[in-house]
Amino acid sequence: MYQQIIDQITTRVMAGDWLPGQALPSIRELAASSGVSVITVKRAYEDLERAGLIATRHGKGSVVAERLDQARGLFEDALTRSLVDAIAHATRLGLDRGQLHQRLDVELDAAESTPTPTQGNLP
C-alpha cells in the first residue's frame, strides 16, 4: 500500500501529469480516497519529500517540487547502480554484451505488456 502511493505519485510527477508547484491532495483526503491509513500516506509523503519530489509547506499541505533536479539526479544514480549490478550478475553467468542487451530487451517487452505503473524503491 505504501509502495502503491509512492509509485502512483512518482509516476504522475515524473510524467508531468502533475506540474511543479501543483498542490497534492491532503494526507487525509488521499488516505480516505485510496482506503489507506493516514500514517501510511504520511510516511509516503515524508519519503517523497526526502527524495526531492514534493515539498511540504507547514500548515499549507504538499506541492510538487518546483525543481525536480534533485529527484532526477537520485533516480539517475539509482539507475546507474542497478546497471552496474546487472553487469556484475551477467559476468557471473558468463553472458556477453549482446546477450545482456537481449535480456534487457526481453524485460522491456515484458514491462510494456503489463499496464502497471513503474515499480521501484525510492533512491
Binding site: 500500500m1 480516505a32 480516497s33
Partner: protein, 294 residues
Amino acid sequence: MTAAFAVSGLCKRYPHFALQDVSLTLAEGEVMGLVGVNGAGKTTLLRLLTGLAAPDAGSIDVLGHRLPQAQVAAKRGIGFASEDMRLYRSQSLDWHIALVRQIYPEWDDNYAASLMRRFDLRAQQPIGGYSHGQRVKALLLLCLARRPRLLLLDEPTTGLDPVARAEVLEALADVLRDERRSVLFSSHNTHDVEQLADHIAFLHGGRLLAHRDKESFLDDWRRVLCLGSLPPTLANWPEVAQVRSAGSQIEVKLRAWRDDLPERLAAQGLTVQRVDPMALEDIFVTAVRAGGAA
C-alpha cells in the same frame, strides 16, 4: 487535545479468562486496529470501553469522560457495532432508522441515504429477510449515520463476502476525512488492519503484547533467508522470533530488525541471501507461535 480514549491498568476477570493490566491510548483522529486470536481479549476490551462491562481495576476515559461516572456523556459520542447486537427481525431498516434518529440528534439523513445506496440495502424489507452481510451493513449504517466521534467496531468485516467487505472498508475510510473522529476496530483479518490502521494493538492471552504505530511496528520485523549451517545459539538471540532450516537454507524471522543484523549473521558463518519485510499476517502468526512476544 483530548484522547479518543485512554485506559490504564485495566483488569477484568471472568471464570476462564482475565484481561490483565492493559494500558492503551488512542489519539483523536486516529484509527487503531486490535488484533489477536479468538479469546485474546479483544471483545472484552471493547465492552469495557462501551461501558457494557465494568473493570475490576484500572481507569477508563472515553472522549474525556471517566467511566462509569460520566457514562451517559461518553455514550453519546460512542458508536458501537458488534455481531451479537440484534436488530428486530420483523421490522424494516427504515423503522430502525426512525428509532435511532429519535435518540441521537446528530443523526445525518443524507449520510444515511448515501450509505443505504453504497451498501445496496432495501429500506422497507423486514430485517429477518436480510443476509448476514446485509445485517452487518445495516448495523454499521445505524452506527455511522450518527457520526459518533469514537467508533468501536467488533469484527466489522468478519463473514462478509469480498464485495461487502470492500463496501464496509470504503465506508470506514471515509471516516478518515474528519480529523475529529476516531476508530477502534478488532479484526481477524490482518489485511484490513494493515490497510486502515494507524496504530496496532496486539492482544494475546488477555495481555497487551504490543501497541505501536503501524509503520514502525511493521518496520521492526524482517524475514531473512541465509545459506549455511544452523548456528546452535541463533534461536536464543533476543531479536530472533523464529528459525527454520531446510537443508542448508535457513529462514530467520526477526522481531527487532537493525541494519547490523546481516553482518552479525555473516559473522556466524551464514551467507545472507535476501532480507524481506513481513506482512502483518506473517508477523501475527510468528509472534503467537513464539509464545506471544512481539
